[in-house]
């Protein structure tokens, strides 16, 4: 479990945090609240049967995506797993396109083709949303490779879960990143569980997961996800390291999810105690912690908070209305977005048979 010490004074004084304007600090809070309110709406309508498949909520972990996104320099690229709503909103995707995607509508960010696990916004340097555990990790490597190849001064932010760390491709990727000096920050969001399996039951470690990086000659550190300043400072240092020295870094962020693995996970109070969940909510909730910090800094007032939160709630509610009012994708769209050449009706796309069933 993470410690209860608050964000240290020191880390708040890190240059990257000193340069963090009051406006930006409020914006960070707003992002976290938007994520939470968005997901609470999603949960409500998922439970009403308006969505299909899985719904993996990010609630409890909001600080991580928001801190990372707050540091992206316009050249950095982000990729994550299926627990991807927070990252999507943090990089600037709209609630409407995201909610519509959950509803399976044509107006969704993936035109209703991807669902909860597959939000993408390449124009915002956001490469998804991937359902196969750790499958996104070598893609992140490819983003970093392309940045270096094109001599773009950015880094790749590659998120993965604590359970994902035990997929072999992660070790392969750590090796390649270090061997080839690729500008990538691997970010383990360690929420303590992979589905119903606690870290102790999934991972043989010495002290922490991140330490595995040492075997690949890679820097690593462990950060408390409830400490926004610490998060930002460490992320910033790591991202700068990656951008300027092209050396990869592995970070492990201690965090927690409040809901089950997905909403279908009816077991989530069996593999962990109600007290454990409550304890975290009480003492470590990233939103409360940051709110508290901003109130203390007198940047935030209770009434500002209310209005920010109110706006977030409204926006979330409006996104549902948008999603509900949106049309379903046309049946014809089943056969688009498979081959680029076919979609373009290019000569390559018009040559030969590409599909082998009836079209309906």
């Amino acid at each position: 479990m993470i410690t209860t010490t608050p964000d240290s004074k020191e880390v708040a004084q890190a240059p990257i945090n000193l340069a963090f304007t009051s406006e930006q600090k409020i914006a960070a809070l707003r992002e976290m609240l938007r994520i939470r309110r968005f997901e609470q709406q999603a949960l409500k309508f998922y439970n009403q049967g308006k969505m299909g498949g899985f719904l993996h909520l990010y609630i409890g972990q909001e600080s991580v995506a928001v801190a990372a996104a707050s540091l992206m320099n316009g050249h950095d690229e982000m990729i994550t797993a299926y627990r991807d709503h927070g990252h999507a909103l943090a990089v600037g995707m709209s609630m409407e396109e995201c909610m519509a995607e959950l509803f399976g509508k044509a107006t969704g960010c993936s035109k209703g083709k991807g669902g909860s696990m597959h939000f993408f916004a390449p124009d915002k340097h956001y490469w998804g949303g991937h359902g196969i555990v750790a499958g996104q990790v070598p893609l992140g490597l490819g983003l970093a490779f392309a940045l270096k190849y094109k001599q773009i001064p950015g880094c790749a932010l590659c998120f993965l879960g604590d359970g994902a760390v035990n997929q072999g491709v992660v070790a392969e990727s750590l090796n390649l990143a270090s061997l080839w000096d690729l500008p990538i920050v691997f970010i383990i969001e360690n929420n303590g569980y992979s589905m119903g399996t606690s870290l102790e039951r999934s991972s043989a470690i010495d002290n922490c997961l991140a330490e595995r990086a040492a075997g690949f000659n890679m820097k690593w550190s462990v950060v408390n996800g409830s400490h926004f300043y610490e998060l930002r400072a460490t992320l910033h240092t790591s991202m700068e390291e990656a951008r300027t020295t092209l050396r990869p870094v592995l970070l492990e962020i201690k965090t927690y999810r409040y809901y089950g693995h997905s909403i279908a996970d009816a077991n989530h109070k069996k593999y962990r105690t109600a007290e454990e969940i409550e304890q975290y909510k009480e003492n470590h909730d990233p939103i409360s912690c940051w709110q508290h910090q901003l109130l203390e800094e007198k940047i935030l007032t209770e009434s500002m908070l209310e209005s920010i939160d109110g706006a977030a709630k409204e926006e979330a509610a409006a996104s549902v209305i948008f999603a509900e009012a949106s049309p379903w994708p046309e049946p014809e769209s089943i056969f688009t977005d498979i081959y680029y050449e076919v979609d373009q009706a290019s000569e390559a796309g018009r040559t030969g048979v590409h599909f082998f069933s009836d079209s309906r």
């Binding site: 696990m117 196969i132 994902a164 379903w328 089943i334």
Partner: protein, 324 residues
């Protein structure tokens, strides 16, 4: 006979075999303490303990390979893939190790393992979670593939698969787990390689497996009622070994064939069966061999559209009617 679910039928098969044979163990992500992501292994960890029912980290390649190694030593692992879609991260272990080690050792080794889990679309879990690799796996001589459609078949085929001395890839279906049917208590086996005529008919042969059997049966009823066409519905049950004889006998009777599967069409299972019939029963055929498969696109998320992707009674009926 008790009416139980497909899920429960599998669960009974496991508990029968865990009880009967000490060398049987279950392994996979969340199969033990969590009772299985789809509750197929419910209660087994409590009953048989951590030695026999084992939770794994998310490391499919390693635990599939572990299963092969343990099976070489004479254990009988039943390894769950939470979805068969996840087989692709461990594909090498299945094809090259489970599939080839017997041959490469000149028969010194056999691999009595079951690899199991759901393999189906239709639940809005997206393209990466909706693969149906029965064709990919059955391509490998050395592996066996089973796809039961009913609770009765699920239990009998599972027990037979666990007792089989080769590797059996057992493909279930999350959309079938809740279906109920009559299932005997206790132990019984259904041999691999024996198709089941789920409905007798005289005018056309519907050949299917897995959930597509149920869709075919539905279509057959409508076809009878509305068009007076009598469709025979054959359930392959096992893809490899394959009961070609039953298929050919039916074709010789009906002279018309419609193949139905939820596999993607290109080199899907129905392509193999069509090719077989076009070779071995050509002279019996009065009409082209047609197929109704999953639409040839990745599985879409959007709920109403995904319903269109899998074979529906309507698609079956309209295809069938073109053959008369």
């Amino acid at each position: 006979m008790p009416l139980i679910t497909y899920r429960k039928a599998l669960n009974e098969a496991f508990s029968e075999e865990l009880t009967r044979d000490d060398s049987v163990f279950l392994m996979g992500e969340e199969v033990a303490e969590y009772n299985g992501a789809y509750k197929v292994t419910e209660g087994l960890w409590e009953r048989f303990g951590s030695k026999r029912v084992i939770d794994t980290p998310i490391s499919e390649a390693a635990f599939l390979g572990l299963g092969v190694g343990a099976a070489m030593m004479g254990l009988r692992p039943v390894v769950e893939l939470m979805f068969w879609s996840f087989a692709y991260v461990g594909f090498d272990q299945i094809i090259n190790n489970a599939g080839c080690v017997r041959y490469m050792s000149g028969g010194l080794i056999n691999v009595p393992m079951v690899i199991r889990g759901p393999a189906n679309g239709g639940t809005s879990v997206g393209a990466t979670h909706s693969h149906t690799p029965e064709n990919l796996i059955a391509n490998t001589p050395g592996l066996k593939v089973v796809c039961p459609a009913t609770p009765y078949d699920a239990k009998g085929l599972m027990i037979a698969s666990i007792r089989d001395n080769d590797t059996v890839c057992f493909m279930e279906n999350t959309l079938l787990y809740g279906n109920t049917g009559e299932v005997p208590e206790g132990s019984y086996t259904i041999p691999l390689g024996v198709a089941d005529i789920k409905r007798l008919g005289t005018d056309i042969s519907f050949i299917a497996y897995g959930r597509a059997v149920l869709t075919a049966l539905e279509a057959a009823e409508i076809l009878q009622a509305e068009h007076g066409i009598s469709a025979e519905v054959i359930d392959l049950r096992s893809i490899r070994p394959l009961d070609e004889e039953t298929l050919l006998t039916s074709v010789a009777k009906t002279h018309r064939v419609l193949l139905i599967d939820e596999n993607k069409p290109f080199c899907g299972v129905s392509a193999q069966i069509a090719a077989m019939i076009a070779e071995k029963a050509f002279d019996e055929l009065d009409a082209p061999i047609l197929r109704v498969t999953a639409l040839d696109a990745p599985a879409i998320y959007s709920m109403p559209l995904e319903k269109l992707q899998l074979p529906t009674p309507e698609r079956i009926i309209s295809k069938a009617l073109t053959l008369f």
